[in-house]
Symmetry: C2
Subunit: 243 residues, 2 copies
Amino acid sequence: MQIQTSPLTRKLGAFVSLSDVELEILARFHSRRREFQSKHEFIHEGQTKSSAFILSKGWACSFKVLPDGDRQIVDFQIPGDFLGLRSILFRTADHNIEAVTRIEASEVLAADVLRAFSDAPRLAVAVLWAASRDEAMVVEHLVNIGRRSAEERMAHFLLELSARLALVGIGDKTGYECPLTQYHLADALGLSAVHVNRVLRQLRDSGLVTFQSGRVTFDDFDGLAELAGFDTGYLDQTGPLLT
Amino acid sequence: MQIQTSPLTRKLGAFVSLSDVELEILARFHSRRREFQSKHEFIHEGQTKSSAFILSKGWACSFKVLPDGDRQIVDFQIPGDFLGLRSILFRTADHNIEAVTRIEASEVLAADVLRAFSDAPRLAVAVLWAASRDEAMVVEHLVNIGRRSAEERMAHFLLELSARLALVGIGDKTGYECPLTQYHLADALGLSAVHVNRVLRQLRDSGLVTFQSGRVTFDDFDGLAELAGFDTGYLDQTGPLLT
DNA sequence: CGATCAGTTGAGAATGGTCAAATTCGGTGG
DNA sequence: CCACCGAATTTGACCATTCTCAACTGATCG
């Protein structure tokens, strides 16, 4: 079997230097290719026996729905992200995941993951690290919603996305392609769609950032970063800790 | 060495059946006893070379501080909780942790944890599971702040705390001892201290719950749970997945 | 050419914030 | 035992951010 460098191995390798054997085990994770249409919900809260997925193309989002129908988007997943890990570790999924765009992903069965952990224990450490990184992002999201104004939230969110996309080689300092609707932004930031629209106009009018027709354009990156109090510390990677 | 059942082993054992060797390694984590006074901040954001701690007595809280001085409490830690794991896995702490009450904890060095992972790889899986459980709590907290009204937030928060405390044998259906101030609640829930006070009075006046002089008393548990849309799914434990 | 969905805008209402001032309460020193 | 101190809590008045409702535009698609 040919061992390829996938976005996943690149990510895990940043923390744990992976051996050929470990790389091969990871490579086998990519044997079940799946494809989902935009808006398809492929992991449902409460679902038992769910799989995890490694996203190779497109965007997805994980969210929870409240009794009154409101939803809170917890995170967006971009290519290279591992998703649904918690639904494997717990026996039942505690959140929903749906495709934002049409997506391509590799399905990974719970048994595959658990077997990989016992065959190559260092992979568990690597996944622990990746999961901690995800948790750090959720924490930052929490701070964002809990303590920042609508304008700051939006600014911070757009910058964070930019930083994450940059890590997988998408977008640059001038901006990036972004398939999200204003409803997605509203559900992610805990705002109403109407207010999202107003905030976006305000940011555009102040010459900071333009969110339009599927693209985020930074008109004044530094100004935006200052408004948001943006700091990339929680995304830092400084080379393998475990060699 | 005598192998004792600590809150930590009980927690990890819920996911991975631990061998004697693994139990002994965990027991060695308890060799460096520490004690901190209330309000002492013992993990600082940006700090490198920080340790982790296993909390054995008292309450702590982890939080982030924004440039303008506002703070967002991410989570409270109670006896049995592992804290500061991320500050070990990343080389630098991405959040602060301070003692809410006087606390007793065991300090665990980064090297100890990494050595334990290579000596007993299954421990890494167990810790991964525990970390995922923490992440699930942060996610629920995010939903709470993002999509619920102040009253619902408070109700949900007090119920969640009750459920967590019950797992380590503190409190019962009638209520629990709670050393938090209204400022803690405000910082955790993304509200102002003044509004926290009003919300608490409202909940008390509606006969649902009383938060007073260091104690939470459920006057109408079911009514409160209904108001909060409370569901314990994300805390469920259903026995070891890995045997 | 309707139908639907994303985006836009306005007007009025509501939730929660800010500021400022009491009040309570657990210590602590005299 | 009592006076006092600081921290935590409580309350009122006013203000701001954000929400809701409702209407309208523009694009896309069968």
